[in-house]
């Protein structure tokens, strides 16, 4: 077996409460690394088209990669892969916390949960004894994710669902510690299997090709991170909420169900405000991560709890026109405890508010008013009253109540908190990302709107090339499995220290913007490992990973996801943006919205896809994507 892998898949069948260990396929690991890539390959091969996402034939796949189980910063994340009940296409989500570490300690690369239990269950896995216990979870059913984890056995690493998952809220997530695999409804799939929690333990060591080099180099990276303006300063001091004031100034902060990109009270929900007014002095991290982007805040009646991150601040804050950080923190607590994705939840609440305002759906909710929101979040989690409608997400709400023009989703997945009208590459990414409208499947916005070196986000230059490269890289990162925030470290300190108003800065930006095909070719060049994650992979596995290698692997994964979606009935017509994003301008010099129609054909061409968005056989052959 390649080093860095435990070499085992644990197969669990909930229907007959049986389990077996199988060997990890080495060739698949070489082609797809692990995590999201390996999981997608398994999902494609093991399911047939049209499977019911909430039925027993939709496997729930927890997958780690070769970096998991090591002490590499940002490396303790796992991927969850299944068919999404929210989109009907590929479902996946990544999660920090500690569960990935636990799986690898137990000697498990991938956990495949199949079937549907006959009773409410939790699993206890002992990797040292190669044992799996199927335990009754009746007493945990109905409990929030925080209490559930407290009641599970010590010395184990847990992944659990809350009431939202139990009640099949279509954007329910899976929680490890205080982190969540939030997107695409993976928690609903777990709930549909009557599986409340998975606890895992073990004491196996990760076998590396060159542990000495890995250890020495990891020390260097830790130092580099400590001194980096994002890793060691901004994310550490202010968390991801540091970006609120930036997106607001760039007019891309979702406000009033994405009608506007600017919110007058943005500052009072920002990371800096949290640091000065709400933070309780505790900053939290996933296991072994020095970045500590999490932070604790106090919520009345709940004590000190995890604070909201950027997406939550935007979707439950500005998007609802709420500038009260205490309220957003309270709602974030409820969403986490119930086990729900705050992006989809916030978008569903915003959509409900606009529907209500237009008289299309009667609710007690109104923009700018916190009244009834806490209660509604709990109603959503329990599918009570009109909360039952919101629990199905924006697309289904629009099918029932109308409002397609301002229903903020792509492929059924609610849009993240970067308005694409001011970030064109991000818009292409939203439109084409296989799991739907999400930002962490590429994060082009960092290079065009929010980072220290940005191209002009509102012309057509590089906007059909950048998303391809970023999506490929994100696929590879999510397969190692590493935190996507690691890519923020790729822009060196020297660029951060440059004045954004300097001539050199403007010159670099112009060169990048005009680099087009050169940029693509440069990023795809195979050579020696340069970035830390390329070196880690190389030292751990003994195989050579450079940026070009990762681009190829990421492209392979992206195309396989695409083929999965096509098999499930999605088409190029689903590669679009909400009409509000396409037709309603938010910038003074815009006459319309995002110019997707001009960029999509170029994007397809760069991908080696037909004009209808179908990968050509030549592309699939080049990438060794077997379908």
């Amino acid at each position: 077996m390649i080093k860095g892998y435990a070499g085992r898949i644990l197969e669990v069948d909930l229907g007959d409460e049986s389990f077996a260990f199988a060997a990890l396929d080495e060739e698949t690991a070489r082609l797809y690394i692990g995590g999201k890539g390996y999981g997608t390959r398994l999902l494609y091969d093991r399911t047939s088209a049209g499977v019911d996402p909430l039925g027993p034939d939709n496997p729930l796949i927890f997958a780690t990669g070769p970096l998991n189980g090591s002490v590499a910063p940002q490396s303790n994340r796992f991927a969850v892969v299944c068919k999404s009940p929210l989109t009907g296409g590929i479902g996946n989500a990544a999660c920090g916390g500690s569960f990935a570490f636990g799986l690898k300690k137990a000697g498990i690369d991938v956990l495949v949960v199949s079937g549907r239990a006959k009773r409410r269950l939790r699993l206890r896995i002992d990797g040292d004894a190669d044992a799996v216990e199927f335990l009754d979870a009746t007493d945990l059913w109905g409990q929030g994710t925080y209490d559930t984890q407290k009641r599970l056995p010590k010395g184990h690493y847990h992944a659990v669902i809350g009431p939202a998952g139990e009640n099949l809220v279509l954007y329910a997530g899976i929680v490890s510690n205080e982190r969540i695999a939030g997107r695409t409804g993976v928690g609903a799939v777990m709930g549909s299997k009557l599986l409340k929690a998975v606890s895992v333990r073990g004491s196996r060591k990760l076998d590396m090709e060159d542990p000495k080099k890995f250890k020495e180099y990891t020390k260097e990276v830790r130092k580099l991170f400590e001194e980096h303006p994002v890793m060691g300063e901004s994310l550490k001091r202010f968390g991801t909420g540091a970006i609120v004031n930036t997106t607001n100034a760039r007019n891309i902060l979702p406000t009033r169900n994405f009608k506007y990109g600017h919110f007058d009270d943005a500052m009072t929900i920002s990371g800096e405000w949290m640091e000065d007014h709400e933070l309780k002095g505790v900053k939290t991290s996933c296991i072994h991560c020095p970045v500590t982007c999490g932070r604790d805040v106090e919520v009345e009646g709940k004590g000190v709890v995890k604070g909201p991150e950027y997406e939550t601040l935007a979707l439950l804050g500005s998007n609802l026109e709420i500038g009260d950080l205490k309220k957003v923190s309270e709602w974030n607590y409820h969403a986490d405890d119930m086990g729900m994705d705050t992006i989809s939840l916030g978008a569903s609440l915003g959509f409900a508010m606009e529907l209500s305002e237009r008289g299309m759906f009667q609710t007690p909710l109104a923009f700018g008013s916190p009244a009834g929101v806490s209660e509604m979040i709990l109603d959503v989690a329990h599918r009570r009253g009109i909360g039952n409608d919101l629990a199905d997400g924006v697309r289904r709400m629009a099918e029932k109540h109308g409002g397609h023009d301002f229903a903020m989703h792509v492929k059924g997945l609610e849009l993240s908190a970067y308005d694409p009208r001011g970030s064109y590459a991000q818009g292409v990414e939203y439109a084409t990302t296989n799991r739907g409208g999400c930002h962490v499947q590429g994060a082009s916005m960092y290079l065009e709107s929010t980072g220290p070196l940005t191209i002009n986000p509102q012309n057509l230059k590089l906007k059909a090339e950048l998303p391809v490269i970023q999506q490929n890289l994100a696929c590879a990162i999510n397969s190692m499995v590493l935190c996507i925030f690691t890519t923020y470290g790729m822009i060196p300190k020297a660029v951060h220290n440059m004045s954004p108003n300097s001539f050199v800065h403007r010159a670099l930006s112009t060169v990048l913007e005009n680099s087009g095909p050169v940029f693509t070719r440069a990023m795809r060049m195979k050579g020696k490992p340069m970035m830390w994650f390329e070196k880690w992979l190389t030292y751990i596995t003994g195989e050579t990973f450079s940026g070009g290698h990762l681009q190829e692997i990421g492209e392979r994964i992206f195309n396989l996801e695409r083929m999965y979606n096509l098999r499930e009935g999605l088409t190029g017509a689903d590669d679009t943006l909400p009409p509000r994003m396409l037709h309603e301008p938010t910038f003074r010099d815009q006459t319309s919205g995002h110019p997707l129609d001009q960029l999509l054909p170029r994007y397809y061409k760069n991908r080696g896809w037909s004009a209808e968005g179908v990968p050509s056989q030549k592309t699939l052959d080049r990438l060794q994507v077997r379908v």
Partner: protein, 86 residues
Amino acid sequence: MAVTVELTYDMSKTLGVRRFEVEDATTVSDVVRAARERFEAGDAFDRLSRVAAVAVNGVLVSHRKGLKTRLADGDTVAFVKAAAGG
């Protein structure tokens, strides 16, 4: 003619205001000058603004005509710092 000026968090903390109006500013340069005058110590503004780009209605002036970018009544001029989120 009036434009609204929005400050970075650090600038706002120093001045004790989040935003203010500037009358009769025709270019971004006028606004930057007016903002600097609000700070008791000009070097504090220089330090804080060195790491901040300037955007007019959300568009960085480096993509327009820099400090010479012309303003219209009702424009919002924002000082903006780079940041990473999630």
